[in-house]
Symmetry: C2
Subunit: 202 residues, 2 copies
């Protein structure tokens, strides 16, 4: 940004550009938008940012972020503790919760195995999953691997499947196929091939 | 966002969605990105936000936001005070400064006349421009109307041109035509017609 801008704005633009997917132009638009807001509004935003990490802990059971340990889902007596759904990130869990279909519990790995980014199994909560499953072996009926359908997600799912195999618990992988509203014409080959392989009888 | 998320994150997502062009998914992505940052980083961001308005004043000459009054440009003895470039927003001025071609001073209106949004001449710094030009009449040689080439910008430029006409100062409007890198094939009719009308001899 040229020197023509006052430094408090330049600083805020700089902070915004650190965020993923936000370039200099978007950052400037956001900063100028905020400049038009009241001091109270800015104060609330500022306080929310400062307090973000203060009230958040990690659930010692599912490794998800939460305000309490155990988290509300792990504490909920209505959830089926015999099914564990393994996801990469907290938002993946949020997406699954959005379906209101799943009544089991979760395990949040904190990402996917990605040698390119230097993320190995040790950087994820895989050891914690292993311990959790070993301890609850008698009560756990199924482990659903809901890792992302990406290269990294598939690799992570495969790694976990191998790791947990000796425990003799049913391990499943979420279905891969054509998304609702998708178009065969525009689907990539791997998705189409998955859709064919996973076909079901009417 | 579903209730599955801890409230500090939900609050931050909520703050982000208030910003222009940021939907719930982007807001969630930003909030989770920030959750991974250190407390220090968050503290700096938070402080920058809180202090945004504290150190910013309005330049009493050009009406632009600045850290000092008059602003660095109005104070600069190397700038040509006899040419005033009228722009809508501070970022328009920043864009013009980016060309390093303009050596005059500015007047920032704070927007464009837009009856739809309830913005009339009184909500803009037009009165201030009029006073400024009237006071400096003998020294001012040209007023460049660099309002946006939108309906609202054109209306604002026309309004100002009419208002200042009695003062008998040269009033110009920035050229409208095809942008560099543009393609005739995809240009709209008005732009093309402007490009034709504004043609120049080699």
């Amino acid at each position: 940004m040229p020197n023509a801008l006052p430094s408090p704005i330049k600083k805020l633009i700089n902070e915004f550009t650190k965020l993923p997917g936000i370039g200099e132009k978007t950052a400037a638009r956001l900063a100028f938008y905020l400049l038009k807001q009241s001091k109270e509004e800015l104060g609330i935003f500022s306080k929310t940012l400062a307090e973000l990490k203060e009230k958040i802990v990690r659930c010692s059971i599912c490794q998800n972020i939460a305000e309490t340990d155990p988290c509300p889902i792990c504490k909920d007596s209505n959830r089926d503790k015999s099914v564990i759904c393994v996801v990469g990130e907290p938002l993946d869990m949020v997406a699954l919760e959005g379906t209101s279909e799943y009544k089991g519990v979760y395990h949040v790995l904190g990402g996917s195995i990605s040698p390119v980014e230097g993320i190995g199994p040790d950087q994820l909560k895989i050891k914690e999953l292993q311990n959790r499953v070993e301890k609850g072996k008698d009560k756990i009926k199924e482990i659903i691997l809901a890792n992302n359908p990406t290269l990294e997600g598939e690799a992570t799912a495969m790694y976990i499947a191998k790791l947990l195999k000796p425990l003799n618990i049913k391990i499943t992988r979420i279905a891969r196929g054509l998304p609702v509203g998708g178009d065969l014409e525009y689907a990539d080959e791997v998705t189409l091939s998955n859709a064919l392989k996973g076909r079901k009888e009417y």
